[in-house]
Symmetry: C2
Subunit: 240 residues, 2 copies
């Protein structure tokens, strides 16, 4: 048996709330009903709803604000907008890099990515290439792969016009909320394309960050490979 024989009530409530989020019942940034309302709606005590919401808040899916309410998390807020960007200056200063899309075209998904993105082989995708510019210096060259049907009408100008992060763009224009991601890091030597865009000699050691990002229900939506010239910068991580 893989299914647990016992399912706590708060766990079921968690699932029901998640389903409402998937269904788009409440949009990113909006408030969800109060704990008392949810409790009476689901026919449980406030404490049980609390535990469910606590866990969803711990997963950065909801955000609690004392005295105001509980809100659907978004990538559009000040302190969370660069949640997934781990590249920081050694000085510790906060930086808001500028994104510069250099290419955006339709293609067929590469075989090795089809599985990761749960697409059928040869499915249509958008491939976006962009640079991230930190204080005038191009430090990251990203290649991003997105399922074409999910991102109809994507284009370089639309991405470049947008003020905000890619994930904020995905939320606003496609209703897709990225809630978690898995990354795998390696060190590689700069090949021609990356060397050009990052303005470094061929063979320069680069941090290679492969990411798969997921939306509600652990559905993979984005694959990306970031090549990072770690000059005065590093990838920061906390282990607990």
């Amino acid at each position: 048996m893989s299914a647990p024989s016992f399912r706590p009530l708060y766990d079921q409530i968690k699932i029901l709330i998640t389903q409402s989020l998937i269904a788009g019942e409440w949009r990113p940034g909006e408030a969800i009903p109060s704990e008392m309302e949810l409790a009476s709606h689901f026919g449980v005590s406030q404490g049980t709803v609390r535990k469910a919401v606590d866990e969803l808040a711990g997963e950065n899916i909801l955000v609690r604000k004392q005295g105001k309410g509980t809100f659907v998390a978004t990538h559009d807020e000040e302190h969370t907008q660069l949640r997934f960007l781990r590249i920081h200056a050694d000085s510790g200063e906060k930086e808001y890099p500028r994104s510069e899309v250099v290419d955006c075209r339709r293609d067929k998904v590469a075989p090795e990515l089809a599985r990761a993105l749960e697409l059928r082989p040869g499915a249509p995708v958008y491939v976006v290439k962009r640079r991230l510019i930190f204080s005038g210096k191009p430090l990251v060259f990203d290649e991003i792969v997105l399922s074409a049907p999910l991102f109809k009408g994507l284009s370089a100008p639309r991405l470049n016009e947008f003020k905000g992060s890619f994930y904020s763009f995905f939320e606003i224009h496609y209703g897709l909320r990225m809630i978690r991601a898995e990354e795998r890091l390696t060190a590689v030597a700069a090949a021609e394309e990356a060397a050009q865009h990052l303005d470094v000699p061929l063979g320069t050691p680069l941090l290679c960050v492969d990411r798969i990002a997921f939306t509600y229900g652990d559905k993979p939506v984005e694959w990306r490979r970031g090549l990072c010239h770690t000059a005065g910068h590093s990838y920061y991580n906390e282990l607990a």
Copy 2:
């Protein structure tokens, strides 16, 4: 004012439990008193103790085991012993690398590390160099710096004799529990020493992982730099 005007009871309980841990009242792996005992000892309800213990368990400082009790977390257990090792094979297979200490000597702390380790300039330290060998291949070359007074009598043979991770060794022989760490990753070209120990050509791109590890009360205890040849392996990270 930086101190919060309001301190929840469970937060105070958390601090009291942490102080008992610092004082060595319960040793790693041992059970702490039951929730009911703690509750009556502190004069609060079981629910309040629960919340305190929940948070400490969330920080991997305590481990709850239903029906048995609550235990002081340790690096010596099966599933947690490689908690801080993020290098994994691309295949996803679990590997237990072999550690091979190649050098261990006393030295004075480097100026740039003194601050990070909260030592006075020139304080005595041990500098340990070791390789991690994955399925016969040396993939990581570590340089580890530890305050000498804290680690009296450290030596290469003692480290090599020990069956288990470094952090498990620290717990058992020095009573120091590593509870969290900060890492900064960059990509570098292999210099001579690393190239030799990792058996790669000079200039091979390597993942450079700088770590500071902390014990109870956020006290820094260890600095280390790991140079990793990411051949068939990568540094895995989850973003949430």
